[in-house]
Symmetry: C2
Subunit: 401 residues, 2 copies
């Protein structure tokens, strides 16, 4: 029978590897001891905790060229270069590197794994020092603001007072916006891509489907699967498949797959993956469960659902940006139905109302939400131009070469 | 822990009830014996088989006032009146009844349960007479054309040569279109609502997520759950939740729920249904599994995926309608992203190319795909006007009263 393929070989050892990465990541990590607890929005303190991160490029003498890249739901700190777990290239090779729009010859790039993640920053797969066992659902639910708070503590530790720029797409854009609101004096420029100031009802609904798919998997074991030696792979794969559709667009799926059949001349009249789009989706599901922790998926989707930048300002987004000096550039994509242009415009209007410097570009593309990750020359030109202008305003030296 | 609520009480008895309904429905049923096999597109014959149906209104003397209503994926033959299994009103109370746009004082309405369904027409929950056990996955995969073929045999049995009109929304529209192509001489008028001439890659993708959710449920038991006394309720609930989002629109979800919380003042920082939209979705999932068979969900979604009216005509849709005499009226809804207006336009263009009589209306609404089921006065006016004009052309007597 045809279900998501589960490669049983080495499942246990890979589960161990994910768990090991959660505590002892292959990237640098800063550990915050009992003297430096993280105050969470859930009104509890997380302590001890740790933040894993990668850096690229060189910090200049006056520490004024740091760009913080915030990753999205399924991303991690491995922005470029070979991923230590999957062996694949980083998730933003198109954008970041020597001579790229985010030029590592010019800027010092930092990318931390988010709170609740599974690649070395404290998350549900991390060992709870109080019990010696993985947190599972005993980890407090975290928010985007909590993640940003932890990132600020990381920067303190790295001796970086002010960010030249904070950027990211999707959930990364949420973090970039939260940075500008929580620490306006520490952010010279902000470049949120394909984001929103709050998660929509439809997006919460899609997240809830993913969570229910995970929690419906008997191998989830009320979140205790790491202890019990199981792994809710099927549930997580279904969650990823549903989410993945939302990252693309109807037009892109039509262009890429249409109704083309997978390695066959005609329908099989069965439930096998007759259509290429089915095969592709199943592949996406299978790949994801190899590298991601199911409970992390619950925590991170929840953090996105809770994101509502205006909530602390009586629902008036402009008040969140009051007195903002940060230079903003917002980017949306015409075919992005997860974070449509209207979401970006709402932010632009609020920034305008707050008299903050902002530019905005809507890019015409059929690639959907994922366009920020893809080969999109107009996006590259905008990012390059915005950073270059900000760098001149900041008095950064021109690009090398 | 917070998962889709499963009311364990009476699960076994309800499973039995669904199974009983599959063989001995409470609605009329026509049984086709070994002398009348159904020739399936899968190149096998289904025999014996049966079609369950409901009728409303009275067939006139010359049998010229019959309207065939074709139901959608999650529908059944109980168009109006109390549903025998759920006790709820029929699925098209807004549209059908005395004095309604599809006026049962004037027209004779027939609605059969689709092939592959679970309310009395042969489907995977039906008893296979060769084994005495439910078919499960041993039932051949069926197509929309197979369903229409079975419906034509039903009409033969009822002595109805020509339909005054065939109508339906979503998958119902697919059947209406297939009727006009398979039996053009038997269809005077066709009124497909919110439909398409073929299923898109994105729609196949969403269906595949639903199927994977069902097949990932260990209680599915390779489709043998009825025999083994289990029921993949959680998988089916997740499938329904994912699908349900696609039936609505971002705007409708925002209007209905926004980010409103469910019976609480603030976030719980947990995975309970904090948001109303989550609670609503879970409810949709729970309700659906009470009345629907999981294998039927696999078969019917597959039939929709396979639907491609132009496939037998070298991909040229206009050729499918060549020489059509049927009067068509197509309706789409602006916020329907599952079967967008472009799908309807493609059909209209093909009908124009085939010089077939066609009218078309795109209705402005934020209600999404499900708009065809809801209180939508403009839709009612269009249906009423189209049927009235066709009735005059057909020489049917005017509406009573």
């Amino acid at each position: 029978m045809s279900v998501v393929r589960v490669d049983l070989e080495g499942v246990a050892s890979r589960a161990l590897a994910v768990r090991r990465e959660a505590d002892e990541p292959r990237s640098p990590v800063v550990r915050f001891g009992p003297d430096k607890p993280l105050k969470l929005d859930a009104r509890v303190e997380l302590s001890p905790f740790q933040v894993a991160y990668q850096t690229y490029g060189t910090l200049n003498a006056d520490k004024s060229n740091a760009i913080l890249i915030c990753h999205a739901l399924s991303g991690d700190q491995y922005v470029i270069g070979e991923h230590p777990a999957t062996g694949k290239p980083g998730w933003w090779e198109t954008m970041v590197g020597p001579g790229k729009p985010i030029d590592t010859d010019r800027y010092f790039v930092i990318c931390p794994n988010v709170l609740g993640g599974c690649m070395g920053t404290t998350g549900p797969a991390s060992r709870n020092p109080a019990t010696g066992e993985p947190y599972g659902l005993s980890l407090p639910v975290i928010t985007i603001r909590d993640t940003v708070r932890a990132q600020a503590m990381l920067l303190d530790q790295l001796g970086i007072e002010t960010l030249f720029c904070v950027t990211g797409g999707s959930m990364g854009a949420m973090q970039a916006l939260q940075w500008a609101v929580s620490y306006p004096e520490r952010v010279f420029a902000a470049l949120p891509l394909a984001g929103a100031a709050r998660h929509s009802a439809q997006n919460i609904a899609f997240h809830e489907v993913g969570r229910q798919a995970i929690m419906a998997d008997p191998d989830w074991r009320d979140g205790r699967y790491l202890l019990e030696g199981t792994n809710p792979r099927r549930g997580l794969a279904v969650a990823r498949m549903a989410a993945h559709i939302t990252y693309l667009s109807d037009a892109a799926l039509h262009r890429k797959f249409g109704r083309k059949l997978q390695d066959r001349e005609t329908w099989t009249f069965g439930f096998d993956a007759d259509f290429q789009v089915e095969s592709y989706l199943r592949h996406q599901g299978s790949m994801f469960v190899e590298r991601f922790d199911a409970n992390s998926y619950l925590y991170i989707t929840r953090a996105m659902d809770y994101f509502d930048l205006a909530a602390d300002y009586d629902g008036v987004l402009a008040h969140a940006f009051k007195g903002a000096k940060t230079r903003f550039c917002l980017v949306s994509f015409t075919s992005d139905w997860l974070f449509p242009t209207s979401d970006a415009r709402a932010i632009v209007h609020a920034l305008n109302a707050a008299a903050a410097p902002v530019s905005f570009a809507e890019i015409e593309t059929d690639k959907g939400h994922d366009a920020f990750l893809l080969e999109e020359p107009e996006l590259f030109a905008i990012v390059n131009g915005f950073l270059d202008g900000a760098a001149r305003a900041r008095g950064l030296s021109a690009a090398k070469g």
